[in-house]
Symmetry: C2
Subunit: 378 residues, 2 copies
């Protein structure tokens, strides 16, 4: 099927680029002899997951929703980390996966949450291995490695029925706020110091800490030293996006997904192009400013080649309209004829992809051949 035969907006996947991204990180982690526990919240697709890591009862993955846990277990992945603090009600569905043979690991960062999980697990007549979430950058969740609450929490999890201590994990969301590679490398150093400090404190207290898990695409890409770390979680590296490009984690040519859209009109009065991809098709995630210092909602590329068009971005959006101002640019409206198509590189791949139920697979630069499914929702 040619691109012109597709209904727009739709989500394209260039598997050659994706495979290159997958191989690049895998090669690096192999070199450092550290395991990858891929975060499948980005792709949410079994056909893609299998290209990252073969299925199997011991194949370790990371998920962000119970729906993903069910979907990927059904697809053959047996070792699943649910990387959002769980609540008692969520254990009901997870217990059903355990009953079918899944190894489900939870994360905890608060004694009260741990008590609730333990109580609920006991009521369900089961037990969950748990990682303690460590806060290395103040950006999201977790407790600090030097927090007085760490050892009481670890001891509780170790001693209490319903939960068992499987190690520590952290997410370096702070890397998304870095301004250059040196800053990301520093975040990676802080991440390593934080997580290994936490692991050491737990072990010195005579408690087990077999898993030491770190994760974020920027730190996984630029970290130089994984000593003391047993696994790396990363997700967006599979597709990459404009946030990663702004962080120098990738080039635009490394971005594997794009939204195919049609030019639906020209607005001469305001020198604007109108596309049929708006905030539902692209997401309202503002990402990072572009090279012109402006907020935008995606980089415009030639539909047939996928090549970015210099300085051309979605300027603003309505629900089903994307607007591109040509003010200050060297382009004319007629350079983008009404009815012609463009591709749009996303600011944030995880969020843009979530608007679609499937990926259209590019088989040549200007045609598609088949689809991969996605598992959305909760």
């Amino acid at each position: 099927m040619t691109l012109e035969e597709l209904d727009t907006p739709t989500l394209l996947l260039d598997e050659d680029i994706m495979r290159r991204n997958i191989k690049r990180l895998q090669d690096k982690l192999d070199l450092h002899s550290v395991q990858l526990r891929p975060h499948l919240k980005t792709c949410k697709s079994l056909q893609i997951a299998k290209q990252i890591k073969p299925v199997g009862p011991d194949a370790s993955i990371t998920v962000s929703t119970i729906a993903e846990a069910e979907y990927f277990f059904e697809g053959g992945y047996g070792d699943i980390l649910y990387a959002v603090s769980a609540t008692p009600h969520k254990l009901i569905r997870l217990k059903k996966l355990q009953d079918r043979g899944a190894q489900i690991t939870l994360i905890l960062d608060h004694i009260e949450g741990a008590k609730q999980i333990a109580d609920a697990a006991i009521k369900l007549n089961t037990s969950f291995p748990c990682l303690i979430e460590i806060d290395c950058d103040g950006k999201r969740a977790g407790i600090k490695a030097d927090d007085d609450a760490l050892l009481p929490l670890a001891t509780f999890i170790n001693d209490q029925n319903g939960v068992s201590l499987a190690g520590v994990m952290t997410h370096s969301g702070g890397s998304y706020a870095a301004n250059d590679i040196a800053a990301i490398k520093q975040v990676a150093i802080d991440e390593k110091i934080g997580i290994t400090t936490a692991a050491s404190r737990i072990r010195e207290a005579g408690l087990p800490c077999p898993i030491v898990s770190v994760g974020s695409t920027p730190t996984a890409t630029f970290a130089d030293d994984f000593k003391g770390i047993t696994e790396v979680r990363a997700g967006v590296y599979v597709f990459q996006d404009l946030v990663m490009e702004a962080l120098n984690v990738c080039e635009k040519s490394d971005i594997a997904i794009s939204v195919l859209s049609t030019v639906i009109s020209h607005n001469k009065t305001h020198n604007r192009l109108l596309l049929d991809a708006g905030s539902l098709a692209l997401s309202a995630d503002p990402g990072k400013v572009n090279e012109m210092g402006n907020k935008h909602f995606g980089q415009i590329c030639h539909a047939k080649t996928g090549k970015p068009i210099d300085n051309l971005y979605i300027s603003s959006m309505n629900q089903e309209h994307g607007l591109i101002s040509l003010d200050g640019l060297e382009y004319q409206l007629d350079d983008f004829p009404i009815g012609s198509q463009v591709r749009i590189l996303p600011n944030h791949a995880c969020i843009t992809a979530a608007a679609y139920n499937e990926y259209q697979l590019l088989s040549s630069p200007s045609s598609v051949d088949g689809t991969y499914e996605r598992c959305n929702g909760w």
Copy 2:
């Protein structure tokens, strides 16, 4: 089912509030003897649409995607305005609806687009009634009422096979940028002047202009004069949201949908609550700043009563985490126990709702009874 038995995040709908919103606008439009052509891009639900307007072959509605056109036609609505400039490829699916008896009206705002639509319709052996989109505020699409291109476009549509001239329409997106009711009233006046000027010019040229269609929830709410206007389109008024509240279009107590979420942890170091509703569950749409002058991603409410909690908003988000900073507020972390639930009022109802496949229907303040479906995608 009680709220505690629901998996979170999930989307709640308070039908009592929704019905009050529906009745309020309907009563106003009845008073002014102007027809409502509801925009169903917000609710995307047949069960809700039927509460706005009964189905029937002549029942007029507005949609923003071809998927909505198919879904609502299947449900019994016969007179459908597709309110995004169409492209030739999209006519293929619309022709199938025509063949089953649907009246499909398109919008056009450019002679080149009109030529493409006419050619494609002729090839499909059909014809589409078309409205010319008028730009009253410079915010999105359309041509100005005094544009030299208006009459040539109207003449072309009138004379050409494949298309016929059914009137004019405009969308006053500019009302979203208004700062007070007086400003919205002025946008409504500009909207009326623009659209009736365009209609007059077309009629004075001896061309037909039976439909004169305006639309936006703010202008529909505050317009005082609909003389010369034949129909009003509005969508978000059915649910309302925090953008509408910031515009004084509604009160927070008029917002009919909310996201039910669970407190998953406390972060003492940063005095933050963590919820299981992040940018997928709420959307990254920043809306308008809150009463404290801050950007936010939703108003926190008591789960059981739905009552807003003063000054408590989602401060930042990750994909599946919502963070609430308590800095500067009178609340303590323990006021919101881990494992307890909250409701979150959305910034932008249309975009937040699109993350869900269904609505959970509140049957009492703290329980639900049944679901309504949604038609997402394209």
